[in-house]
Amino acid sequence: MSLRKYNPVLMPMLSSLLILGIWFGIGSLIEQSRITKDGYSREDAVGSRKVVLPLPNEVLQAIVDERHDLFRAARNTFSAALLGFLAAVTIGYSVSMLFASSHLLKQTAYPWILVLQMTPVIILAPIIAIWIGPGLIATSMITFLIGFFPVIANSTQGLISTDKKLLSLFAICNARKSQEIMFLRVPYSMPYFLTGMKIAGTLAPIGAITGDIFVGTSTSGGAGLGFMTLSYISSAKIPALFATATIACIIGFIFVGGVNLIHWLALKNWHDSIAKTDT
């Protein structure tokens, strides 16, 4: 049997072991250098190394120690990401329906959506905080701003590019405009919409955390992972910073896994469309 057969499981496991080995190795090198070069005691060397590179077990310990703050922050970030994502998907698709039904509207409004998309969210975030105050709504709004463009761009493309032959079929069936939209244009645009949704889903946790750095707040337990990052930096809790990164990574995986699952469930029956849109 060839090694190829084990690749999907074995290779990530091997690479994990390799990375852990390098991680511990570098940690121990730093400690050694502190002891031999700078004359630190063993204990001081460990403390010094910890603020540069906490080891995996220390990161796990930090997750346990900070669990109350971290889990509350994770919940807040997750809620903001989900809310912003749902808004991006529903509002984005509705707008693209409007664009598809009116060329005039598309020509008038599309440039402004581009302007909104081209303005860095990092600059928009403080403005939003000033306008509506910090908190969940502001963070969700920033997530929405990051995610809605890919949904609009892709869905509009799908709604507009509906197969001419299928449109002819509906024409000879004397289908009403509403039937054409419901039974042809909307299902036809699904692969496009779902591609936009995948991009929005990937961006959502990033948007929520970035937004939280600017508009997060510790009042009434509203802090998200972005706010916690700032807080851990200012109190030099470096292992907790690594712990925050770990939690953020898990949230990212949940989102990407979720949207990929929806994408697959929605399209698994018409195979070739998955092949057409998957990159």
Binding site: K165, L166, S168, L169, I172, C173, W270
Partner: protein, 259 residues
């Protein structure tokens, strides 16, 4: 032009039909054709002779033509109930199973679910696809997909079926088989058929009338009456009188295309 049609006029009547592209170049010119009910008319001719355009006019998809076209006394765009088209491609909705694809025209008409299921089942049986009902279009071969397309057209019980090179993409064996099946289906439940093809043999096997079109602009060159009676069997293709007519028609087409 008078919109009233006298009782004597033909089932499908085309009078001095002309049509030009938007840039002014003519596609069809001075087409006159009277077709009786349940005739099988094949349109044949070189590429660009406007056969597909003529079919699209009959289906009501093009309305910017000159002259008059009536299907049982009505304009093509008002005769939607009476006619249905089968395109070059199967044109199936990829997200619907075979059953739902066949039901689609009835669904769009608002026919109740039970009724349209029954009708679709009959038609699926007629084209021999009972085992493929639950399949999606991507799981079908080219010939099967075309059968679905035909079943879909037949659910509306059209008086006129418009077929634009429906079997052009299939190999000869499959095409012959589908030609025979098409005639069998038509024997059970007759309809008038307009059929576009490039194959003289296919045209002669299927039709009562072969309309030969010339190109630039498309005009009727000649109309060949096919004398063989229905039902026609596969063996007809090997009969001497069929082969003789085939040779004659092919020569006529070649001679005209060389000039």
């Amino acid at each position: 032009m008078p919109s009233q049609v006298s009782a004597k006029s033909a089932f499908v009547q085309i009078q001095s039909l002309g049509m030009s592209f938007e840039n002014g170049s003519p596609v069809l010119e001075d087409i006159n054709l009277d077709i009786e009910e349940d005739e099988f008319v094949t349109l044949i001719g070189p590429s660009g002779c406007g056969k597909s355009t003529l079919l699209r006019i009959l289906s009501g998809l093009i309305s910017s033509y000159r002259g008059s076209v009536t299907l049982s006394g009505r304009n093509p765009s008002d005769a939607g109930e009476d006619s249905f088209s089968v395109f070059q491609d199967p044109t199936l909705l990829p997200w619907l199973r075979v059953q739902a694809n066949v039901e689609l025209p009835l669904k769009l008409k608002g026919v109740p679910k039970e009724q349209r299921q029954k009708k679709a089942n009959e038609m699926i049986e007629l084209v021999g696809l009972e085992d493929a009902k639950r399949k999606f279009p991507w799981q079908l071969s080219g010939g099967m997909a075309m059968r679905v397309s035909i079943a879909r057209a037949l659910t509306t019980s059209p008086k006129i079926l418009l077929m634009d090179e429906p079997f052009g993409a299939l190999d000869e064996m499959k095409r012959d088989r589908l030609n025979e099946d098409l005639l069998t289906i038509r024997n059970k439940d007759p309809f008038t058929c307009f059929y576009v093809t490039h194959s003289v043999a296919e045209a002669l096997f299927l039709s009562t009338k072969v309309v030969v079109l010339s190109t630039n602009p498309g005009r009727i060159e000649t109309i060949i009456e096919v004398p063989f009676s229905y039902p026609r069997q596969a063996a007809l293709r090997e009969r001497p009188e069929f082969l003789e007519l085939l040779a004659k028609t092919t020569h006529a087409l070649r001679a005209r295309n060389q000039t």
